[in-house]
């Protein structure tokens, strides 16, 4: 952590200058310290550590705002606990805002006033980012995306090899030489994206989606230049870097002249592009953007694909990714899909917009220094899964898949973790 000179402090405080609208000032002035948000947060629920009460995270940012931007905070700082932006404050900010929040927004929806807690956490992360205090592990993930084009620094050759391998597998599996995975083809209807975890660790999910595209007779392509749906700069709080990452995908869409950008099963990637990219770049989309969840649901509704209801006999439950559901409004589509062909589907309690975060969001999976804490808070999700009695946990998010897979081992759940595309591909009826 660098030393805090005047210039560094000013960079941090810049987030309070010239806000774009009244949202920031509103949420910085709204918390009444009732403490009733505590039980809405998995960090507090799992640890009962008072430091993890969501309002404490809001207060960290608000206390700095008060110290530098309000009369009472300047004149009588101790009355409103207005804090200087110094080493002690920033250390606590890094630990709580990066290390103890997945920005899941569950507390926001349940706050007695309506404070957008995850927005304030994000603002605090932007302060720290301005000051060069993003945890190195998270920043290296962002840097990888900026320098190599994908957050896992997968060389293009390796990516192409993986895709070609999956293509061969798919052709073999369905015994049809036309089941191709097109690369860099212009003027297709769909440009599909991937979470780099797919080519790196879960290549079968690429062939699963390719199989669905094949069944739906979709006109689609992947790009080798820019396929990464993720945007970890959204989590690091660096809006300039987030804009650069989003811009690359935007430009690739224009380059390949596709009509619709389909975002792979990635909660934060979907949120960062669908909802944040136009605001990072200050322009509306000139093309259509949708998630693969919406697309698969549309295929089912339009009868473009058929699924075998006898194929999956096990009990299935669904994990709702926070960024896709609570922060993205994709709530019904995954249920339309699962209810269409899963005979034994059971919801978690709570679910939907009230669902608990798996604990892997907010960049937590990238920040290995908080691994122990991440697995501790995961006990909430483990218990939720255990109570359903399900054998398969489906989730439309590769980050969640990663965290849930670790939960599965850590808590000895004995379940299978699958993406939506994987279960759909398993049950596809091909003509």
């Amino acid at each position: 952590m660098g030393s805090l000179n005047k210039e560094t402090i000013q960079k941090g405080l810049d987030v309070f200058q010239n806000p774009a609208d009244s949202k920031l000032i509103t949420h910085l002035n709204s918390c009444v310290h009732c403490g009733l948000c505590a039980e809405s947060c998995i960090y507090y629920l799992a640890t009962k550590d008072d430091r993890f009460i969501p309002a404490r995270k809001v207060d960290l940012v608000a206390s700095v705002y008060k110290r530098y931007c309000t009369h009472i905070g300047k004149v009588f700082p101790s009355i409103v606990n207005a804090r200087k932006l110094n080493e002690e404050t920033t250390e606590e900010m890094v630990d709580l805002l990066f290390g103890a929040c997945t920005m899941c927004g569950r507390c926001t929806a349940h706050c007695s006033i309506g404070v957008d807690i995850s927005f304030i956490v994000k603002t605090g992360r932007t302060m720290l980012s301005n000051m060069g205090m993003v945890p190195a592990t998270l920043q290296s993930t962002v840097n990888a995306a900026l320098t190599s084009g994908n957050n896992m620094s997968i060389p293009t050759e390796e990516f192409v090899d993986t895709v070609k391998w999956m293509e061969e597998e798919l052709i073999d599996e369905i015994n049809n030489p036309n089941a191709l995975i097109p690369l860099n083809e212009p003027d297709k209807r769909v440009l599909y994206t991937l979470n780099p975890r797919e080519p790196k660790f879960f290549p079968l999910s690429i062939s699963a989606m390719a199989k669905i595209f094949f069944a739906a007779k979709e006109s689609w392509t992947l790009s080798t230049a820019m396929y990464d749906v993720t945007n970890y700069a959204f989590f690091s709080g660096n809006n300039t870097e987030a804009a650069r990452i989003a811009d690359r995908l935007w430009k690739e869409m224009e380059h390949l002249r596709a009509q619709t950008l389909v975002l792979a099963e990635c909660g934060h990637g979907s949120r960062a592009f669908r909802w944040e990219a136009p605001n990072f770049l200050k322009k509306p989309f000139p093309f259509k953007v949708e998630t693969s969840v919406e697309l698969i649901a549309a295929y089912i509704r339009e009868k473009k694909i058929r699924l075998d209801p006898q194929k999956i006999k096990e009990k299935v439950t669904l994990h709702d990714p926070c960024n896709l559901v609570r922060n993205g409004g994709i709530l019904l589509e995954q249920r339309v899909i699962l209810n269409h062909f899963i005979g034994d589907f059971v919801e978690m309690t709570p679910h939907g917009i009230d669902n608990y975060c798996c604990g892997g969001g907010g960049g937590q999976l990238a920040m290995s220094e908080y691994n122990e804490r991440r697995m501790k808070i995961a006990e909430i999700k483990a218990e939720q899964i255990r109570k359903t009695g399900a054998n398969i946990v489906v989730t439309p998010c590769h980050n969640c898949v990663d965290q849930l897979s670790q939960i599965n081992i850590h808590f000895n759940l004995g379940v299978q973790i699958k993406t939506l595309a994987e279960v759909v591909a398993d049950a596809l009826i091909l003509d």
């Binding site: 806000p19 774009a20 609208d21 009244s22 949202k23 000032i25 509103t26 949420h27 002035n29 709204s30 918390c31 009444v32 310290h33 009732c34 403490g35 009733l36 948000c37 505590a38 039980e39 809405s40 008072d50 009460i53 309002a55 404490r56 207060d59 009369h71 009472i72 101790s78 009355i79 409103v80 606990n81 926001t108 929806a109 349940h110 706050c111 007695s112 006033i113 309506g114 957008d116 669908r274 909802w275 944040e276 136009p278 605001n279 770049l281 200050k282 322009k283 509306p284 989309f285 609570r326 922060n327 993205g328 409004g329 709530l331 019904l332 249920r335 919801e347 679910h351 939907g352 917009i353």
Partner: protein, 206 residues
């Protein structure tokens, strides 16, 4: 008008002036401009933000803490009633009739709620750690304001003390967290805007 009523009036002008500054700043900064195409409607979501989303069945901050939630509702009603009565007492003093007894009894109940909330803040560790002097000052001033309103309704000779307490309350009001009377509405609006555009609120039946 007596000196203490004039003092209260001056404090009121100070309070309203400050709150107006906050309100004008919010209006000047305006609502967010979202370049992302909406997948839901802001209007019904903002409406839901102020209604359904606030209901005890929907918020964990309410249904997991029903005694506190109930006490908070009564306490807020007591504050609004006290403010209303202040405007009346400023010009019509003393307040007579049966209603002063009804209001007074209600305000004593509300004061008890305020004291309960204060004690909870003092003894519950997590809440205590979260609190700063402003939380205590605000609670004590509001509770005193309600208490003096309840007393002055039945004991009009307490008017000087009542108006001094009111003045202190009004002078402090825009300084600390009591100004959430204004920011609460802005926060609920922004939440409705955010969830509305994304099609999260009003909630879709599953």
């Amino acid at each position: 008008m007596c000196w203490y009523q004039i003092l209260a009036l001056v404090s009121l002008v100070f309070c309203v002036g400050h709150l107006t500054f906050h309100l004008l700043r919010l209006i000047r900064l305006g609502k967010p401009h979202d370049y992302a195409p909406a997948s839901g409607k802001v209007g019904p979501a903002v409406q839901y933000s102020f209604t359904g989303a606030m209901s005890p069945g929907k918020k964990e901050s309410a249904y997991l803490h029903l005694p506190t939630y109930g006490a908070g509702i009564i306490y807020h009603l007591g504050t609004f009633l006290s403010i209303l009565l202040f405007f009346i007492l400023l010009f019509v003093f003393p307040f007579t009739g049966l209603f002063r007894w009804i209001f007074s009894v209600f305000l004593f109940i509300s004061v008890a709620c305020g004291v309960g909330i204060l004690i909870k803040r003092m003894v519950k560790k997590g809440l205590n750690d979260l609190s700063n002097p402003d939380d205590y000052i605000s609670n004590i001033l509001v509770t005193l304001f309600q208490l003096m309103t309840a007393i002055v309704l039945i004991l009009p000779f307490m008017a000087p003390v009542y108006f001094i307490v009111v003045s202190l309350f009004l002078l402090y009001f825009p300084m600390g967290k009591l100004k959430h009377v204004l920011y609460f509405f802005a926060a609920r609006y922004h939440l409705g805007f955010f969830y509305g555009r994304r099609g999260v609120w009003p909630p879709k039946p599953l």
